[in-house]
């Protein structure tokens, strides 16, 4: 309980979420007071099990909740010190915040090329710059390049994931909200995606807020981490510290005192241990 109460108010805080509550459909309370912050040029990871509220948090930030019949009933979200609750998602993209949604959400009837071009919708810096960025995305994901003329609806799940990430990069954002970027990607690609994140972060100073299930990788690349459980932040701290925490190790990294266990050996189903203190 105690750790989440701690609030950071440092100067270079880019994005700040202050004690928000989210209600879906007027009755389902999905977030019960979540606070977190993202430093300028930082990589912050949100971790947590299924249904913990990661996606909800990201959508609350990018203002996509309205379209899911959800609403932020309490709390403030501010970007560079300004509250952003009243901005529409497009205005937020113009401000440089773009989200990669969970579950790919490619434009099925557009080709991969067109999907990427759509990603650059808000940009005004001419087709030359846009095309060179498309080439950059293709250099990240050569597989996409091979299929560039196919409709996104027909490509494989992993290819769609690449397409969604690539599309977000196309708007040249300064902050990216990534919802489970590694989902459905082959192992070496997972590493690659995180390398790209790191690269962009270091070279282009892009900040990342990422919700991720692949805790071990996420903590390896993130600077700071938050752990969400049933709509509450139950723990947060610098990534290295979290990675060392025994509870995190056991529940999120699958490493117990005896080292990594085989999936075959977990004989009895685990009871979810709740973070009571």
């Amino acid at each position: 309980m105690s750790m989440s109460e701690e609030t950071q108010t440092s100067q270079d805080c880019l994005l700040e979420v202050n004690n928000i509550e989210v209600l879906y459909n007027h009755v389902i309370l999905a977030l019960k007071g979540v606070s977190l912050s993202l430093q300028e040029g930082g990589i912050t990871a949100i971790l947590g099990g299924n249904g913990a509220g990661k996606t909800t948090t990201l959508k609350a930030i990018s203002n996509l909740l309205h379209s899911e019949r959800g609403e932020v009933t309490k709390g403030v979200i501010s970007y560079r010190g300004e509250p952003i609750a009243d901005l529409n998602p497009a205005a937020l993209v113009k401000k440089g915040v773009v989200q990669v949604m969970e579950g790919r959400h490619c434009f099925e009837h557009l080709t991969i090329d067109e999907n990427l071009l759509t990603g650059a919708f808000t940009r005004k810096d001419g087709s030359g710059a846009i095309n060179s960025d498309i080439d950059l995305v293709y250099s990240y994901f050569p597989r996409l390049k091979e299929r560039r003329k196919s409709l996104a609806g027909y490509i494989s799940g992993g290819e769609q994931q690449m397409c969604a990430v690539g599309r977000a990069l196309m708007s040249r954002p300064e902050t990216i909200l990534l919802d489970e970027p590694s989902m459905g990607l082959a192992p070496q690609l997972v590493e690659e995606i995180f390398d790209i994140i790191k690269d962009l972060n270091e070279k282009e100073k892009v900040s990342f807020l990422l919700a991720e299930q692949n805790t071990s990788v996420a903590l390896r690349y993130a600077h700071h981490g938050y752990i969400l459980e049933s709509g509450r932040v139950v723990m947060d701290g610098p990534a290295e510290e979290l990675a060392q925490n025994p509870d995190v190790k056991e529940f999120y990294l699958g490493i117990s005192d005896e080292g990594r266990k085989s999936f075959r050996d977990t004989r009895s189903y685990r009871r979810r241990k709740r973070w009571l203190n």
Binding site: I28, N50, Q188, T215, S216, G254, K261, R270
Partner: protein
């Protein structure tokens, strides 16, 4: 299948002869070749993993197996019966059941109804009885309901029995989908990335469910998964695809050591 082919595994399960043989399958979409001349088999009672980089043709392979895609070449032998093109529901009625990479639940229905949906083929009472509900239709409904409740207990999703699945978090949706596939009591269960979007703890649970299904009901399982930890731990044999071609096939350890596989799929880190 004939018992002379069957073998015992280390943990005491019996694995029989091939329940399904995939022979020289090729599948093209316009100019794109999704699958090129692939053959492999799945033995009765085993957990068979299919792995490979993105776009290798794994999902397409499952689609071919259960009749959603019709390959241009090759044939599939299931329980000794060869077939080429067929409607998906024929596959379903022969006991092939599956889950999907992009969750394909019936969004407007509750968890319970989704899993009941898996039992469609087992329910026989005709329109007339359904109309009246009292009597045979109701009795039948309860019988199946019982099975479904067992599955729900087994998957530990009691709490969301009546929730419409559309608003469940992704991970739970995957679990419901598994429940739905199980409800059909399949002899061959095809799982397409059942653990995507789960954390380690949840993956452990999921692995446990899969192992138990395999163990308790003797269900044969074909599994696509990108988490190599899981694959290495629970699969009996692994087939590796790349660019629509088979590049390796064998025991997990053999596959993991195969240089082609490392180059194409695993990367150096593993």
């Amino acid at each position: 299948m004939s018992s002379d082919q069957s073998t015992q595994t280390a943990d005491g399960r019996t694995i029989g002869g091939p329940i399904m043989e995939v022979k020289d399958i090729s599948l093209k979409f316009g100019g794109v070749t999704a699958i090129k001349n692939i053959s492999f088999d799945i033995n009765e009672g085993e957990i068979r993993a299919i792995i490979g980089p993105n776009g290798a043709g794994k999902t397409s392979m499952l689609n071919v197996i259960n009749g959603f895609y019709h390959p241009q070449e090759g044939q599939i032998v299931f329980r000794g019966e060869a077939r080429t093109a067929m409607r998906p529901y024929v596959a379903a009625s022969q006991g092939i059941s599956r889950t999907f990479q992009n969750v394909a639940l019936f969004e407007g229905m509750s968890t319970l109804d989704n899993i009941m949906a898996g039992r469609t083929l087992k329910m026989k009472k005709n329109f007339f009885w359904q109309m009246l509900r009292f009597g045979p239709a109701e009795v039948e409904e309860f019988e199946h309901r019982k099975v479904v409740e067992e599955i729900i207990d087994f998957l530990e999703i009691q709490a969301i029995r009546k929730t419409p699945v559309g608003r469940l978090p992704y991970g739970l949706q995957k679990r419901v989908e598994l429940g739905r596939a199980l409800a059909a009591e399949p002899s061959l269960l095809l799982l397409d990335e059942p653990m995507a979007g789960m954390n380690v703890e949840e993956k452990e649970d999921m692995s446990r469910f899969i192992l138990d299904v395999n163990d308790q009901f003797g269900t044969t399982i074909a599994l696509i998964e990108h988490d190599m930890g899981v694959v290495m731990d629970i699969a009996d044999r692994v087939v590796v695809l790349d660019y629509g071609q088979k590049i390796a096939d064998g025991l997990p350890a053999e596959v993991q050591a195969n240089q082609d596989v490392i180059d194409a799929y695993l990367g150096v880190a593993h």
